[in-house]
């Protein structure tokens, strides 16, 4: 891996200037490297982070079984990585005009990384540097602990997709509370409700009293309010202090919980496990926003490489070359999905909406199709509008909020269905729906979404850990449950339980008839027969105790 040459670097700097003029904002410093195929082979298992820790699974092909992308939040082949400074990778022999296009694309990504709030936790440090120190730590521990280090990594990684990414983000976005504010919160949220167990009417009276004081005396209100409480409930202050001592704001995920509470890890001789769990956890959390903003991020980068390339005076004469590459990247496939094309069209569409003022309530009220089409309030705020969106949305909210019928119609989008035609022995692709809600649902179903599994401390008895999988219409992959739970049991040193939902089929699936060319086909099953089969759900409890998995119905 070597840096790009001065000539190419100069082109990059020119691109940055032009991008800044258009309102993109990003850190001036970037690093660009030339990579060979050989470099890629080494980089791709490490999610393009050259300094990521070593782990044997990186040397083995990972089975491309179902839900591969569900297992890994990072994309193995990214051109640009979210580090400080941002690092991007280039082919050796790209012509200048192509580099200009790629540079703009890369700058689009960097701008996205450094402004989208879902990346906020990655802004304050350089991941490659941290990864390097983690790598050294892992290497040292491996020399001391041998293969047990790898077991710990393996088991930690088996739960690294259910890390508290959103907890982490919300910590960053929660304003710091003063002692006074905490006291008020404690009084109303805990003291009155849990300690005194007051009736609703009394509770409301208290709130009214507080609000009344607040409106009359403003800042002084708190003091007089709590002075009175001191008199009425002398136990309040000590209880509050005790509460402050005990309560940490941290809402821990499974890895943190294990690190804090596992009797196994908290043994003196096993304390080395803690930093390993933390390495796995921070690595996973670092990558989490990447996969949750794939469509937006690629759309944003494609929007900008197009806008900036076409305006660039340095590459005159290469418009046709550019168009050929660009079409390959951003064409909407007849059947299939392309995150680049979809995201870019969304941003174009949203820019238009912003320019015409279509995001206003006035417009929303219009029902007439023609009027909707021709509406133009000449607001001219398109750019501002999309900059705002790139800052505050992720794929789910982006699609759920903005992918509407107008967008569908404008881009001739539809949901494609695939069905078997028995008579002709072909799969038919047909237009299943042109409704925005169906398209939205189809996309949302495909988005990365790890299961939500929380620790239920109330149900954790006798040292065992009780995990509760919140049901969201899908079961867990059954084959993976045993080994994942075995890993948790190892890290915990105690039995683990998992409550989840499973499908109980009401009727056995019918085997598809085997068909030979030229042989008449049996008639397809009657439609009502097919409909008669329904799915019902059953809550089950898995228990992993001494590496033995048992299951019972709840």
């Amino acid at each position: 891996m070597e840096l790009i040459n001065q000539h190419t670097k100069k082109i990059m700097e020119g691109c940055k200037e032009r991008a800044k003029d258009q309102g993109l904002s990003f850190n001036e410093e970037t690093l660009e490297y030339i990579v060979t195929n050989r470099d890629l082979i080494e980089l791709s298992p490490k999610v393009m982070i050259p300094t990521l820790y070593d782990y044997w699974v990186h040397d083995v092909e990972v089975l491309k079984e179902k839900g591969k992308y569900e297992l890994y939040p990072g994309n193995p082949y990214e051109t640009v990585i979210n580090t400080q400074p941002a690092i991007s990778f280039y082919n050796d022999n790209n012509p200048d005009w192509l580099n200009v296009m790629i540079f703009y694309h890369v700058i689009g990504h960097i701008d996205f990384f450094q402004n989208n709030i879902f990346f906020k936790h990655t802004w304050d440090y350089d991941f490659t540097a941290r990864a390097l120190s983690d790598k050294r730590l892992i290497a040292r521990l491996r020399s001391e602990k041998g293969r047990f280090l790898d077991y710990v990594i393996e088991f930690a990684r088996s739960i690294d997709n259910i890390v508290g990414y959103h907890n982490e983000l919300s910590l960053l976005n929660t304003p710091h509370k003063t002692r006074k504010e905490k006291r008020t919160d404690y009084y109303f949220d805990v003291f009155l409700q849990s300690e005194k167990k007051v009736s609703i009417s009394q509770y409301i009276k208290e709130i009214e009293k507080y609000n009344d004081l607040k409106s009359r005396f403003r800042d002084a209100a708190e003091e007089s309010f709590f002075a009175e409480i001191e008199k009425k409930h002398p136990e309040f202050e000590p209880l509050f202090n005790k509460y402050l001592d005990k309560k940490t704001d941290r809402k821990s995920d499974l890895l943190q919980y294990l690190s804090d509470h596992s009797p196994f890890i908290n043994k003196e001789e096993n304390s080395w496990i803690k930093p390993v769990l933390e390495v796995v956890r921070t690595t996973s959390i670092f990558f989490q926003p990447q996969i949750r903003t794939k469509i937006m991020n690629e759309g944003w980068a494609s929007y900008w490489h197009e806008a900036l390339f076409l305006a660039d005076d340095r590459i005159k004469g290469h418009e046709v070359d550019y168009s050929r590459i660009n079409a390959g990247v951003t064409a909407m496939p007849r059947v299939g999905l392309n995150p680049y094309a979809l995201g870019m069209r969304m941003f174009h569409y949203l820019e238009e909406i912003g320019n015409k003022g279509k995001y206003t309530y006035d417009f929303q009220k219009i029902k007439d199709a023609n009027e909707r089409k021709t509406y133009d309030a000449k607001q001219g705020q398109g750019r501002e509008f999309i900059f705002n969106i790139r800052e505050n949305y992720c794929d789910f909210t982006f699609i759920n909020t903005f992918l509407d019928q107008d967008f569908m119609t404008k881009n001739d989008l539809f949901v494609v269905g695939k069905r078997l035609n028995n008579e002709r022995m072909v799969y038919e692709y047909y237009i299943k729906s042109k409704k925005a809600e169906d398209y939205r649902q189809m996309l949302i179903d495909l988005l990365y979404h790890p299961p939500f599994i929380e620790i239920d401390e109330a149900q954790s008895k006798n040292g065992a850990l009780y995990l509760n999988h919140r049901f969201e219409g899908k079961p867990l992959v059954t084959e993976y449950i045993a080994n994942t739970m075995m890993g948790i049991e190892y890290l915990l040193g105690a039995p683990v339980q998992l409550e989840t939902s499973e499908v109980t089929m009401t009727q056995a699936g019918q085997t598809a008839p085997f068909l030979l060319p030229g042989v008449p086909v049996p008639p397809p099953p009657q439609p009502d027969e097919a409909q008669a089969r329904t799915i019902s759900w059953q809550r089950v409890l898995y228990t992993m105790d001494k590496k033995k998995l048992t299951k019972k119905k709840l």
Binding site: L71, H105, V416, K418, Y430, I481, V503
Partner: protein, 467 residues
């Protein structure tokens, strides 16, 4: 329609056929395809799911056209042996093994076939199962362009046209592959999947093969000084010289040592004795074998071949026989592996050819003989009237006959013609140490194939026919 086949069909019809059999026979009869080798290997349709389309698209491929095709063996940090050793340790530490042998890639023209071992693993996590509802098999994806709701915008054949793709492995080979020889694979199969070692290696026969060992002694010079022999020689010399008056009180300081007393060991050629094997691979390449059955059979045969190669320490000869209604021997694994399916089915033809070859070349005296046959279980010779006598003849000399039936899912499982007449003949019960039958379901995967091999080659007395 082929006249010879037509005649055969008429003959069969005259003897009486059930409508179902007739239908199947006609299907194969009317199939116009031929057995030629594919002209070039093409990438089979990528059955990628739309979800992958979103997340697999990446800048390097889309913008810079940089893709990773292969994971060369040499760049791997760890060798296969190391990985497997690690896997073995897992078991010792009380954790389940994690490494599996993955895909096998097609052989290359000319050579006996290149087997590629891909160690694979999966990192298990709690993830959602998106394919939990078998009724909801209709996939949906995005699309764009003109058309009304309900309109059909494209078609894709369920099975590739005209037998294309019947040669398995065509264009296979995703990223990250690690090459290894078939010998390695055999080793893995033996060690890792606990395929049995051959207990009976048959009669030892001398081969024209030598090993070199430090067995010969030489006076005066050589590679390694044989101290004991040298000392003895010195003592002998000194006794002859009268240098040792009292054997109970020897003073070595007074020894006279001649250079010729020094005895060395030198490298020498030793004849090696080993048993050897010949394996016949028989494959049904009739029209009904299209698709999955062929793929399963050849994959399994690659594995069996590798295992034997290891067991007999490379002293394995292989013969490949393809059959539809007629059998022919093909020269190499490539042809065996890649020939397209077509035509009708007569299992007996292949067995007959094996018997002929064994007899003509007098293989019985020199070899352990293994016969592995793969079929989908269809046979125009419905009752095995011709097959059973050939099999009985084969049992006179074969160490093991392994028949694999890869069902294509038509009709009830375990009800194919071959399986029926095999069971009826009682051979499986009478001679379990010599003949085995395994029925693979249509959706068999790699571990199931290996399980199947165990059944075919294990030495325990098999329970009733395996299904």
């Amino acid at each position: 329609m082929n006249q010879k086949l037509k005649a055969l069909y008429d003959d069969l019809k005259a003897r009486g056929l059930s409508p179902e059999q007739e239908k199947r026979i006609l299907a194969e009869l009317n199939d116009e395809s031929t057995h030629e080798l594919p002209l070039f290997s093409e990438r089979s349709g990528d059955p990628r799911k739309p979800s992958d389309e979103i997340y697999q698209a990446n800048d390097l491929a889309m913008l810079q056209n940089m893709t990773l095709d292969r994971f060369p063996y040499t760049t791997c940090l760890q060798s296969l042996d190391e990985l497997l050793e690690r896997d073995l340790l897992r078991e010792k530490d009380g954790f389940p093994r994690k490494i599996r042998v993955g895909r096998l890639v097609k052989p290359v023209k000319g050579g006996k076939g290149k087997v590629v071992v891909v160690p694979t693993t999966v990192e298990e996590k709690f993830i959602h199962d998106n394919s939990f509802n078998p009724q909801d098999e209709e996939e949906s994806s995005g699309g764009s362009g003109e058309g009304e709701e309900g309109e059909i915008i494209g078609e894709q054949p369920v099975r590739p046209e005209g037998g294309e793709g019947a040669g398995p492995g065509q264009g296979e080979g995703g990223p990250h592959e690690m090459e290894s020889s078939a010998y390695d694979l055999g080793k893995i199969l033996t060690e890792k999947f606990e395929l049995p070692h051959l207990k009976d290696k048959g009669k030892k026969r001398s081969l024209t093969r030598y090993t070199y060992d430090m067995t010969d002694k030489n006076r005066g010079f050589g590679q390694v000084l044989d101290k004991k022999a040298t000392l003895r020689q010195i003592v002998e010399t000194n006794i002859a010289l009268g240098n040792i008056p009292d054997v109970y009180d020897i003073d070595p300081m007074k020894f006279v040592i001649s250079p010729r007393d020094k005895i060395y060991r030198i490298l020498s050629r030793e004849k090696d004795y080993e048993s050897q094997a010949i394996v016949f691979f028989l494959r049904d390449y009739s029209g009904s074998m299209i698709g999955k059955p062929t793929e399963l059979i050849v994959s399994q045969h690659v594995l069996v071949y590798s295992w034997l190669l290891y067991q007999y320490d490379k002293q394995v000869e292989t013969r490949f026989i393809l059959h539809d209604t007629e059998a022919k021997e093909v020269p190499d694994f490539y042809t065996y592996y890649n020939s397209k399916v077509a035509g009708g089915t007569k299992v007996s033809s292949a067995f007959k050819l094996v018997n002929e070859i064994v007899e003509k070349e007098n293989l019985v005296t020199d070899y352990n003989i293994y016969v592995f046959h793969g079929t989908d279980g269809d046979d125009w010779d419905t009752d095995g009237k011709e097959s059973i006598p050939e099999i009985k003849k084969m049992l006179l000399y074969a160490n093991r006959i392994g028949i694999t039936i890869a069902e294509h899912g038509m009709g009830r499982s375990g009800n194919t013609e071959v399986e029926r007449y095999m069971v009826k003949s009682n051979l499986l019960k009478e001679r379990p140490e010599q003949i085995r039958l395994d029925t693979l379901p249509k959706d068999a995967d790699e571990p199931r194939l290996i399980e199947g091999i165990k059944k075919l080659i294990s030495f325990e007395r098999a329970r009733a026919p395996l299904s």
